[in-house]
Point group: C2
């Protein structure tokens, strides 16, 4: 159950087997069936979730009832509403399983204790945050400057595992495109290959 997490940690920092064993005790394993939620809009996000198996998404619904996908997370990724998790404010997101999922959950208290006990876990968290920040920044820039085709090609190259496992209308939602726009873009690309 902990293999993906161990790989993720060891990819970024060096920890001893003993530290890994301590680490393990702080996580709560959780299984979700497809379409079950980890967090519902309006609730406080009390877990930072690591995906051992499956694929999750976070999204919010605007006033017109349209869903906007904020993030996907496959094996080896973290997903949470960091803002709600850290500030204990009500979340505007829903976090849902798109396949049957196996998660490892970390509460705020467990995270703080773990950070105090194992300094390398603090470094691991900092490096995750750096990557998340960079990804968010890239997304803002992409939204402001790129064409539909550029956005689709870029996300396809960066996350081939996601493009294959997620319905196209969700990819469109993630990219801020209408489903018909994405469909047209995909046709254009396929005629050129």
């Amino acid at each position: 159950m902990f293999q993906q997490l161990f790989d993720s940690i060891q990819e970024k920092v060096t920890v001893t087997p003993a530290e890994m064993d301590i680490c393990k005790t702080f996580f709560i394993p959780k299984k979700l069936r497809k379409k079950q939620t980890l967090l519902q809009e309006g609730d406080i996000c009390i877990h930072n979730a690591f995906v051992e198996k499956g694929i999750m998404r976070s999204f919010f619904t605007d006033e017109k009832g349209n869903e906007h996908i904020v993030q996907f997370a496959i094996e080896g990724w973290w997903i949470t509403d960091l803002s709600s998790f850290l500030t204990k404010s009500n979340s505007i997101y829903t976090i849902e399983a798109l396949e049957d999922c196996e998660l490892l959950l970390l509460t705020m208290e467990a995270r703080e204790t773990l950070i105090d006990k194992i300094p390398m876990f603090e470094r691991y968290q900092r490096l995750l945050l750096q990557n998340a920040y960079i990804a968010n920044q890239a997304r803002i820039n992409s939204a402001l400057t790129e064409t539909a085709e550029e956005k689709y090609v870029k996300v396809g190259l960066a996350y081939p595992g996601i493009i294959k496992r997620v319905p196209q209308h969700m990819i469109a939602s993630y990219l801020g495109l209408k489903p018909e726009t994405l469909s047209r873009v995909r046709k254009q690309i396929s005629t050129r290959i």
Copy 2:
């Protein structure tokens, strides 16, 4: 010169005076006159800058020649292109002084050494990253869901120091609004007060 930085660190973590003295040796003081740049688009961002005095902005220019403001930073804030800084890639941003500024600069090497020497500096950096991530997330949500008036009111409440010191066309650029839209919104608000 280091007062704002010390306040910023002590607001988030506990460090000893001796650690503060070590900290000081890693920063390079730098003065910029109004309109001088810390970073130019196309260069690699080699500094993470802390603002002791003045106000900075980062922005990029789109293909049509329009400037988009990504961030302002006043006293007590950090500014950098984190993506370029961390990955040593060419920056798409320019970082410029909007007033005469006094900065404290940290190179990547200095930052890494400081993090190794003073664990609380690593925590400080993690907490800064958390805040930056939350602010970015809020900005993405705002861009997707809020009206021009909501955006302006929110930024005015959150950052009154910036609204007063920065030309209105730059506030408009930061909010992704046309200057004339912002002008109309401000008139609407003032007739109601």
